[in-house]
Amino acid sequence: MRDRSLFQRMFEPPSLTEMAPASRLLTYAILILWAIVVLFPLYWVFITSFKLPFQVNDGPDFIPFVDYQPSGHAWRYIFVELGNDTLRPYMNSVIIALTSTVLAVTIGSLAAYALVRIQYNVKIGTVAGFIVLLTATVFAITRFGTPWHITAVIALALFFFFATSFGRHFKRSLGNNDILFWIISNRILPPVVAVLPIYLMFQRVGLLDTHVAMIATYMAVNLPIVVWLMRDFFAGIPIDLEESAEIDGASRIRIFATIVLPLARPGLAATFLLVLILAWNEYLLALFISTADAQTMPLLVAAQNATRGPQWWYMSVLIVIMIAPIILMTILLQKHIARGLMVGAVKG
């Protein structure tokens, strides 16, 4: 095998873990091409934010200082002339995205952990009983005007009576996988289906165009994703570790905090980032729920397209300042998304 022809050297991989020179060349060519496809728009947005309107219209100009003279007019307009009108949506975006993400990741992780470790067994009869009683309650309140708190208490009492007596005799029951499917199915429908009910709901309770409404909505929309992603991460933690900690004297909360969470850190970081990006970029729900006070960045960017035709230069500035925190977050969380944490836990 010492004498390999040039053809073999080019096209045969030297070992299972290495690539042949020819395929390596091809691979890098494709990767570089794709990197250009991905990075060019970012570059374009960045340089456009320093262009004057006529430069945009006369373009295309690719290289600042060579093709055109950069100007800070758009940045001045956005930060000085608009001032608070930029800052407010920006802060709204930060508050709403961060809060809803923290809440969704916290609640969703707890739910995912429970779905991994605790075996649920919900009788179908009990579920059916709940639905029937809920329908009856709504009907009674809307049609006969019964006071809602009394109706609710009666319905709850009936439900517990039913669940602990007849409900037990049903054979078919739902398990953890059914519960998970139900949670994920909430995300299968496009959000536009839920937009009107959500709008009416917040209108009714007078919370339209508030942070609370936005945070609650984003949290609810992103919860299924968190549960779905985190379940796999928790399932990857050997139960031996938790049993060992239990015998060593740890309480359940303690086990979750000192064993489970540290080991799920890569999953938590990745999930946090994904959900944060989803919340940060969300447009459709924000369009309905917020109008002025709770308006977020995506709405502001879209608004630049409005009355005077597309204002590319202003839009570019907004996009640049919108991308910045996400890139920062990604760099910060990057080192936590490392793999291979579990090595050394079990077996020799």
Binding site: G340, A345, V346, G348
Partner: protein
Amino acid sequence: MRVQLKDIRKSYGSLEVVKGLNLDIAEGEFLVLLGESGCGKSTALRMIAGLETITQGSLMIGDRDVTEVLPKYRNVAMVFQSYALYPHMTVAENIGYPLKLQKKPKDELKKAVLAAAAKVHLEDYLERMPRQLSGGQRQRVALARAMVRTPSVFLMDEPLSNLDAKLRGVMRAELKRLQAELGVTTVYVTHDQIEAMTLAHRVAVMDAGVLQQVAPPKEIYDNPATRFVARFIGSPAMNIVTGSVADGTVAVRDGSVPLERFAPRERVSFGFRPEDCNLVAPEDGMLKARIFSTEMTGNETIVTCAIGEDHVVVRMDKDFDMEADELVGIDVNPEKARLFDYDSGERVHA
């Protein structure tokens, strides 16, 4: 501390996997639960730890009824087959974890961790992560974590089964010395009869969730209570030949062995160990056989003989030289032969 299991049962749904376990383990005793894979040993151990609920029966540790006590209040220490090291903690943090939960002062904790690490020769590895250790070292960390506090009982579930044969021998010796030194009651689960025989003060043999016999290793070997125990303990296993008892002899196919004082029986399982019989000339032997194969192990020769369809194993010295298919006779030492009821497998006494 003394550990008492009183008629303990465990069912998963309608499947009963531990069927009435009675054990009285003395303070400081090393008891080994031995049985084939799937016989319910781990389940029994996990019930003592509190990781599985006890379906029926009661469990006492010391003077305390702990049947329904949560694991963290039982003060037991357990070594898992998988070691279950916390991969995100250093060796020192792993060993110190139980003490940290007890809120021990820092300097005391450090001293205890060092002492425990020293017992298993890990002093130089305290700052490493588990992933940077070899299998044997991980095993030692798991041991040290169990020994760092003074538990009422050590529980070990096949702690050596993931090590290679040589290391297993070394760790076995260390484990025995450590247990004697610490004097803590130990319940040790294994499917390896050599481990059981070498480590235990008493061996408890289980089969399909039923306790077969509890006795010191020598007693288990010499006087197995059932045919299962007889076959399970010893390597090569005890020979079992089916026959009948009449007129002070056991008659089997192609021969008979004089065995006085036994009542006549239609069918009986006649057992004798490979070292309690001898190969002689075909016309002199109590049983007539044909050599099936010979294996020279270095210090002895294991000779497998065929009596009809049955195989009988005989231990001969290393110079034994006969070819396969030669005819031989087998002489059995009647004093060492054991009889078992053919149907129930229970030992039949004279």
